[in-house]
């Protein structure tokens, strides 16, 4: 706990309006959206209003050796914002201004607290979009999603957050403020700093401004679903679509457990006997091209014995999307704890991974449904359990260990889009090896030698 004198100095530094010290307020910053993790109250919450204030806070924290936990909206799924070593939560909820929308350069400049959906609303009148669309677009911030390198449903065709950040302003652990990148498409001046900070989970520096890349909004789209009686057929359809040289904007899959749960939850007439359901959306700037792509997809679905449904109107499209939108809510309604993983495999191993997840669920006698982004191999095996049942929670932890092990065996990765944070730190060595862990520590220590920025996250402590 910070002593009274330090708290008073900090309050004087940032102003009473920008600091929360009461127990109730601090409690509300002790968690984020991640299930099954320890909670910890920070000593204090500071809500900076500009980057100079961030600099002043970092210098103050460095002088007094206080940990800093940067936080956007706290919607991440890896414990990335839990202030596990107390100290200061640096919440960017007040730095939420869109500073510039530049249709000529296809860029926008935003403060880190801008919500992704708010940016999209601001650029829509120009016929533009900011494509990364994690499930939390309506709440997650630009700073948080850059720090976590968020993905989303359009990753296959449009990429993820790292493909859309062109420049930044960052406050470093030593208190320096550095700006790099900008509105130019090409920029090879020095290191590619943006890539260093994107996905750094707040462990290397504090993002105080972002220049985002925008693209013209696709003008046409076609949406369809295919229901398959075997996982192999569904997997072959995914491969077939790519082989037909179509890159859909959305290529989502749901397993039988998810289909049945959604149907029980929402009663929308899903084929509950199917083993897998694919949701496919193609889009583009030309009606002819989109139509040709849709026809190619339809052919592939039929060739793989899929039961096809196509949307002719926006209302019908909405109906097809209802199943996917309800996947998480429906599964979550089954119990009080939702363990949502994001193990990711090469696209060609999707079927193997779905089968493996189902078997792991059975082996540990757990309620497990899998849905996710088939097009980019990013699956969400989701385990529903009772946090008051110790035995079940222990089995869940074993199942999660095994899911990650299998994903790595298939040539995949621990995390496609949620990040490492606290939740997956113990698995890092399995993917990167000791030399990889040392590389992480080397980078961390060169930028933040005192481990003041988001300590306890991503970077495993040295063995002692």
């Amino acid at each position: 706990m910070l002593d009274k004198e330090i708290m008073e100095k900090l309050a004087a530094l940032v102003g009473q309006d920008n600091i929360l010290t009461g127990k109730m307020d601090r409690l509300t910053y002790s968690y984020d959206a991640t299930a099954d993790l320890p909670r910890q109250m920070p000593d204090v919450v500071v809500l900076p209003t500009d980057s100079n204030m961030v600099q002043a806070i970092v210098r103050f924290a460095r002088k007094h050796r206080i940990p800093i936990y940067p936080r956007g909206a706290g919607t991440n799924l890896s414990g990335g914002t839990i202030p596990i070593k107390q100290g200061i939560v640096l919440s960017f909820q007040k730095m939420n201004r869109i500073l510039d929308v530049d249709p000529a350069n296809l860029t926008a400049v935003v403060q880190p607290g801008v919500v992704i959906g708010a940016l999209n609303a601001a650029v829509a009148p120009h016929g533009l979009i900011y494509p990364p669309d994690p499930g939390t677009v309506a709440t997650a911030t630009m700073g948080g999603s850059a720090a976590e390198n968020s993905g989303g449903l359009r990753g296959l065709k449009y990429g993820v957050t790292k493909n859309y950040i062109m420049g930044m302003e960052v406050v470093l652990a030593n208190g320096d403020k550095v700006r790099f990148g900008g509105k130019t498409v090409k920029n090879v001046t020095a290191y590619d700093f943006a890539t260093l900070f994107i996905g750094s989970e707040g462990t290397l520096g504090i993002i105080t401004e972002l220049t985002a890349k925008l693209i013209p909004a696709p003008r046409f789209r076609r949406t369809m679903t295919g229901a398959f009686s075997t996982l192999a057929d569904a997997g072959n359809a995914v491969a077939g679509i790519i082989a037909a040289q179509v890159i859909p904007a959305t290529l989502e899959i749901m397993d039988r457990m998810t289909i049945q749960t959604v149907e029980n939850f929402a009663h929308i007439g899903l084929p509950t006997e199917a083993e897998a359901l694919l949701l496919i959306e193609v889009d583009g700037m030309s009606a002819d091209l989109v139509q040709a792509e849709a026809e190619a997809v339809i052919q592939v679905v039929r060739d793989n014995h899929g039961d096809l449904c196509t949307a002719e109107t926006d209302q019908e499209r909405d109906q097809l999307w209802t199943a996917r939108r309800n996947a998480l809510p429906a599964l979550a309604s089954l119990n009080n704890t939702v363990i949502l993983e994001d193990a990711t495999v090469p696209r060609s191993r999707i079927t193997d991974m779905l089968v493996a997840c189902e078997q792991i669920g059975k082996k540990y006698n757990l309620t497990l449904g899998t849905f996710g982004h088939a097009g980019d191999g990013n699956l969400h095996p989701t385990i529903l359990c009772d946090k008051h049942n110790e035995d079940e929670m222990a089995r869940m932890h074993q199942a999660v260990d095994e899911i990650f092990q299998v994903a790595l065996e298939f040539g995949g990765t621990l995390s496609g889009e949620h990040g490492i944070g606290m939740a997956k730190m113990r698995y890092l060595g399995n993917e990167l090896g000791e030399s990889g862990l040392n590389l992480i520590r080397t980078i961390k220590e060169s930028l933040d030698p005192d481990y003041l920025l988001n300590p306890g996250k991503m970077v495993p402590a040295h063995e002692v």
Partner: protein, 444 residues
């Protein structure tokens, strides 16, 4: 709510014991989807303002990590409009309204009601006293407020505008005038028609009775124009929502039982409301509050199924006669929180507006975003409420509409103030008044 026998009724509800709400708290994943829609969070931008954090605080109170009478907890518990917007956006369907009511009731059990609330709420339990007070208010208001004929609104006079400035009672404040003759005194207890197609009982609520009796008369007129007999029992009292949201459970249960008795006596099959909060009370709150009552519990459940907003009744139960009188106006519609999010009424008022010849309907952006009223929230949290209201007024302005229609009198009061303070002084009216006007113009 399913039919339950006397034997299976719980001895207490969540209104009586905070721990009963724990299962509801467990449903919250802390995903934060509530942040996208919570009007208070939208203004205050700190965690304690938003739903998931209020859930976490309630959990902490039950776990002993926070004290119920911590002043911060008290302030947080009442910094909520109970607009239920978060519940629409909640993936796990947390009944947050139950949590909020359970928490407030627990606070009142522990600390008692503040004296001012106690005084006001106790008069509600004595309808004659309350009625006398409201009439006295109607004659006294000219001392405190100056009236404006064209908008039928009143504003605080100096010096009241000076001392009341901090809670929004500045000279800019627009309020509906208290009517010296309440609605229920203006109309007979039964308005008969020849060969009625249906017989309904109209629950007026206090707002239509005292502040907007003309809208109440319009509602009755529309029903009779459709050949429906209307009972307006004089013994009815406040629906109780204003005291329920302040945690005064004893009073709301008393009000609920009395209202049930009064409406049982009408012998009508349908109960009609013109206010989302009143209708929501009959559809949901009464059966929740009286779940442990072997006599009134089943009656409340019966009436829950027989309660309809006027727009639902006209479009789903009877087919209203298409109005012929022309009203050449550009009209928009504000979805009142309790009407849409508690009663599930959104399409019906729009259908009615579309039926009126001459009405050009323009949808506003985010029509179901809260107006900031929250009953008394606007009085206790004026700054936040007025920032919410400014956004609503701007959305209304952008439609170019000259009339804002709405289905809930509490929103009418707030919108009246919003459009005068921040907007283009649009006319604010209950949608039923536009329909009544169209029927009246048929005769001209």
């Amino acid at each position: 709510m399913t039919e339950t026998t006397t034997a299976t009724r719980p001895s207490k509800t969540y209104h009586d014991e905070l721990a009963i709400i724990r299962a509801e708290l467990d449903k919250c994943m802390k995903c934060g989807n509530c942040m996208a829609v919570c009007p208070v969070y939208g203004v205050e931008r700190k965690e304690a303002a938003v739903t998931r954090s209020k859930v976490a605080v309630a959990q902490a109170v039950l776990d002993g990590d926070l004290e119920l009478d911590d002043p911060e907890v008290y302030e947080m518990a009442f910094n909520c409009l109970v607009c239920k917007s978060c519940m629409i956006n909640c993936p796990t369907k947390v009944n947050f309204d139950h949590i909020m009511l359970a928490l407030r009731a627990a606070l009142v059990r522990k600390n008692g009601l503040p004296w001012l609330k106690k005084m006001i709420f106790s008069t509600l339990r004595h309808p004659k006293l309350f009625d006398a007070g409201m009439r006295l208010g109607a004659t006294m208001q000219s001392l405190v407020f100056r009236s404006e004929k064209e908008s039928r609104a009143i504003s605080p006079r100096s010096p009241f505008s000076l001392v009341g400035g901090t809670i929004g009672f500045d000279a800019e404040r627009k309020l509906p005038g208290l009517n010296s003759t309440p609605l229920r005194e203006q109309v007979p207890e039964v308005v008969r028609v020849t060969d009625p197609v249906a017989s309904v009982a109209f629950f007026t609520g206090d707002s239509l009775n005292y502040f907007y009796p003309e809208a109440g008369r319009d509602l009755i007129e529309v029903l009779t124009a459709n050949n429906i007999e209307v009972h307006i029992p004089k013994g009815q009292n406040c629906c109780g929502v204003p005291v329920l949201v302040h945690g005064d459970i004893d009073t709301v249960r008393t009000l609920a039982r009395n209202n049930i008795d009064v409406f049982e006596a009408t012998g009508c099959d349908y109960l009609i409301t013109g206010c989302g909060s009143c209708g929501g009370a009959w559809q949901h709150d009464y059966s929740e509050l009286l779940a442990n009552d072997p006599i009134y519990g089943p009656k409340a459940e019966k009436w829950a199924k027989q309660t309809y907003d006027i727009s639902t009744f006209l479009t789903r139960i009877v087919r209203l006669r298409a109005p012929q009188g022309r009203i050449d106006k550009v009209v928009t519609y504000h979805d009142s929180c309790h009407l849409k999010k508690s009663m599930g009424v959104a399409a019906e008022p729009r259908e009615i507006l579309h039926l009126i010849p001459g009405v050009t309907f323009r949808e506003m952006s985010a029509p179901d975003a809260c107006c900031g009223s929250g009953g008394s929230y606007v009085l206790t949290h004026f700054q936040t409420a007025s920032t919410i209201g400014r956004k609503k007024a701007e959305d209304i302005d952008r439609t170019g509409a000259e009339t804002v229609s709405v289905g809930c009198p509490a929103c009418m009061m707030q919108l009246l103030d919003n459009v005068h303070r921040f907007g283009a002084h649009q006319e604010v009216t209950h949608f039923i008044s536009l329909l009544a006007e169209s029927y009246r113009r048929e005769k001209n």
